[in-house]
């Protein structure tokens, strides 16, 4: 293409029409990975709790419940977002019958999202109901209070049912390992764009999926931590470890964004140049800064406060400020990570049709 365009070529730029997607697509691409990140948080918190050998009220239980709750809600949101985009919803709902092309990332992604959703629901139910949670305390148990308010003995029945089907420790471990693999498989959202090789902003089969995974998982962990922190203000070593993970993932995301940005800026492809102009001119430029600030804030807050909490060097005064600082930075990360996907779609430009004279 570059050689073609170096010659005196006739060119027509062709933007991908915006109605080929709508806002539901970036939301879908985002929430699917947020669900994965939140699931990983929940599963790892369960693992940490098992090391501690304490099933009673502890921070790990709260993080696990919030994590699985965010995973369920995000996966549901992703599903609804993508369904709202489709012309024939019932065919998508009947996906085992209709989605038969297993070479398509939409088919692969549908199965990943559905299985992750099911596993997240199972994990959430196991964390919310049964004898253990009945004797536990914490803001994340609010679904129990809702069921108790609804009445009809629903809560007691659910507690009995869950106690009856609760798997042994090995079963839990297997459930979380399998679920975590599906959580990581939400990297497929990046492949959905990366296969389109005529759009220079997208056609990075390593960079785009990796960026979507790291940024989405960071946002999922950050959202879970933010919710937990609203009710549990103490920043202990466990919390610090998660904050550190968010900081590292945000840093990796920022590096990937920087690499992608420089590749786009130095590309000879005319479509890449058009995308670059879009991203440096006008409203999208604001979006670029939202992304950078979001990742940077989470990187700094996560690393500084996380490292201090893990090493026990957090003074009480800093801890008082640390909670709001982490919640705020994770909020910026959540917004920035969504805006990242919006930019990927709004700045997309196909390589133009070219005819060369002879």
């Amino acid at each position: 293409m570059i050689e073609l365009l170096d010659l005196p070529a006739f060119v027509e730029f062709r933007w991908l029409p915006a109605d080929y997607w709508d806002l539901s697509i970036p939301v879908y691409l985002y929430l699917a990975v947020v669900a994965g990140g939140a699931y990983l948080t929940g599963a790892s918190a369960c693992f940490l709790r098992s090391l501690r050998d304490s099933g009673a009220c502890c921070l790990e239980s709260e993080i696990a419940r919030w994590g699985f709750l965010v995973a369920v809600l995000s996966a549901a949101g992703a599903g609804l977002a993508v369904l709202s985009h489709l012309a024939v919803v019932y065919r998508a709902i009947l996906f085992p019958i209709y989605l038969t092309n297993f070479g398509s990332w939409i088919t692969i992604g549908t199965w990943i999202l559905v299985i992750l959703s099911v596993l997240a629901v199972v994990c959430l139910v196991l964390q919310l109901f049964g004898e253990g949670p009945a004797n536990d305390e914490g803001a994340s148990l609010f679904p129990r209070r809702i069921l108790a308010w609804v009445g009809f003995g629903l809560l007691e029945r659910l507690d009995r049912l869950v106690d009856r089907v609760r798997p042994p420790m090995a079963g839990f471990a297997a459930l979380h390992v399998v679920g975590s693999l599906f959580a990581l498989a939400t990297i497929y959202t990046g492949f959905e764009l990366a296969i389109v090789d005529t759009v220079p902003l997208w056609n990075e089969p390593v960079l785009v999926p990796l960026l979507f995974l790291t940024s989405g998982v960071a946002a999922g962990i950050g959202l879970t931590l933010g919710l937990t922190m609203l009710f549990e203000r103490e920043i202990g070593p466990v919390f610090g470890g998660y904050a550190l993970a968010v900081g590292v993932l945000s840093g990796v995301s920022l590096l990937l964004v920087g690499y992608g940005w420089s590749a786009l800026a130095t590309s000879d492809s005319p479509a890449a140049a058009a995308s670059y102009v879009q991203l440096t001119d006008g409203l999208l430029y604001v979006g670029v800064w939202v992304v950078v600030v979001g990742f940077l804030a989470a990187l700094v807050a996560g690393l500084v406060l996380g490292a201090a909490a893990v090493t026990g060097r957090l003074s009480p005064s800093i801890e008082r400020l640390g909670g709001p600082a982490l919640i705020g930075s994770f909020g910026l990360l959540f917004v920035g990570s969504l805006v990242l996907r919006l930019l990927f779609l709004l700045a997309a430009e196909q390589d133009p049709v070219v005819v060369v004279g002879l």
């Binding site: 092309n101 060369v356 002879l358």
Partner: protein, 215 residues
Amino acid sequence: MGEQWMFYFDPNRCIGCDACSIACKQRHDRDATADDWRTVSHLKRGEYPDFEDVPISMSCMHCHDAPCEEVCPPDAILKRDEDGIVTVDRDRCIGCHYCAWACPYGAPTYGDDGLMSKCNMCLGEGPGGGHGQPPKQKAEDGGAKPSCVDNCVGEAIKAGPQSEVMDEASEAAARRFENGAYGSRVIVEPIAEDAEAAEAIRSGEDDRADAWLNG
């Protein structure tokens, strides 16, 4: 497996009259405001006052590798073995628009129902009309000539089995096609009047010529 049917386009003969896109709509009884299955774009070169444009008529190219078929989740898009024409089964389409993302030519269009429709080389009529039709026949064998080809006043568009279209193409166009230009999806004649570039290429002054000729 039958021979691949394909389009041929000669920008030197196109006058940009849009007869092809209008004839396409009429043949397929499509609304005047519906997205075109065949579009006439104006490719531009240079800046005023040294400005030129050239009309280009494009539709689904029925690509040999059909990227739309590869990504279609419900297998609604089919690259037919018998004639290579790419058809869509609208009874399976979910309207996800993924084919539009993958298509290098922007061929898939979407109506009010949100379902995909595109050129079927007049294998059948109307959206989805090509699905399940018998193999494409040449006009002399009783088959329907694609409406765009039939109505092109300058004979800029041709369609047929690959070997026949190649026979009608110029040596340069055929060579470029064989060497992979445009992904070997369509045969396009080079623009003849660009004397400066032509001379640079012929004289060997321009060492990018090989890259261009080889696609």
